[in-house]
Amino acid sequence: MQWHKFFIPHRDTHKKAHLLSLEALALYLLIFVLLQASFKIIEFTNPGILGISSNITVQGIIELTNVEREKKGLQPLSENTSLNSAATLKSANMFFENYWAHFSPTGKKPWDFILSSDYRFTFAGENLAKNFENNEDVVEAWMNSPSHRENLLNPKYKDVGIAVEDGIINGQKTTLVVQMFGTTSPLASLPNPEGKLLGNATKIGPKEYEESVPFFIKGTAGAQNEGALINPLKVSRTLGLFMIGLVSTLLLLDLFCLKRRGVFRIASYHMAHMAILGVAGAAIITTSGGDIGSGLSFVYENFR
């Protein structure tokens, strides 16, 4: 078998290498699509097999949060056991009801968990994160998102509670980070450097505040503390980078061979292909793959 025909242009016809043909490109696309489809099927049929393990810690998140606050000249947040409890209740509920959002499908609101933990907030907020591998990536992602950054750097907050829990959401093992912020001081006494006391916070009326139903952890969250067998992020990243490297190398070889032979072929512009594959490769290498949703803050508007 003439293996060189797979990698370099044909000697006589100067046709592209077999691994660079339209059929080969379509095959690479098909392989990747089938891989992603198989991940979805596994998530549905065998939840817990796929997942990401992480090194995220409660103390690590609090420390990094206070480092960011210190950079802006803000008071550090104090770890509050009630808010820790609220964050733990929230994460357990997210696993139990299988949702990724601030509000549960059954109508539970973030402040239900805070009030259930006997933290009578005047101003509070919630940041969420999942599928990150370390503390630094989580806080960096929050800092790069306006709504999350607003929570992290809000001068009104005095307390913070964090939960870092492993469980399964949408068939995939993940580490969920719930960050709850709060203050119990009267609103009028809170720092207000921008002159917008309530800002973009969701306003909670007295009826909703006082009639919030206590919430207790029910049931189990699914498989806990067992490493997932397959990390889909690592598999996708590795295969994607391999294929980008393969196609880019073949394009370069094609260019080199044609130049050496002094042949002109009416074909697509290889440099454009390599440019777009290069940008995709850079994005694949640099992204953390985690998800943070949107940040949320809420205020009890009657508590002035």
Binding site: Q36, L233, I276, G278, V279, A283, T287
Partner: protein, 69 residues
């Protein structure tokens, strides 16, 4: 030039995967429009050539989409 600008933006927004995906989609659209007009002007516009551009574009997008969990 467009690819270089996209690369800078992709590196700047490395903590926000969705932003990176948006940048990549924009670059892919620009790449396809550029390819069409380049080959049209060059009188080398053929179906086979445009299919190749579409396949490369699809590969770039699907490789990155695969890591958006």
């Amino acid at each position: 030039m467009a690819a270089f600008l996209a690369l800078i933006l992709v590196l700047k927004f490395q903590a926000v995967a969705l932003a990176q995906f948006g940048i990549l989609v924009t670059l892919v659209l620009f790449y396809l429009i550029w390819a069409f007009s380049y080959h049209l002007n060059d009188k080398t516009l053929k179906l086979e050539i445009m299919v190749e551009y579409f396949l490369i574009a699809a590969l770039a997008l699907i490789f990155f989409y695969g890591i958006l969990l």
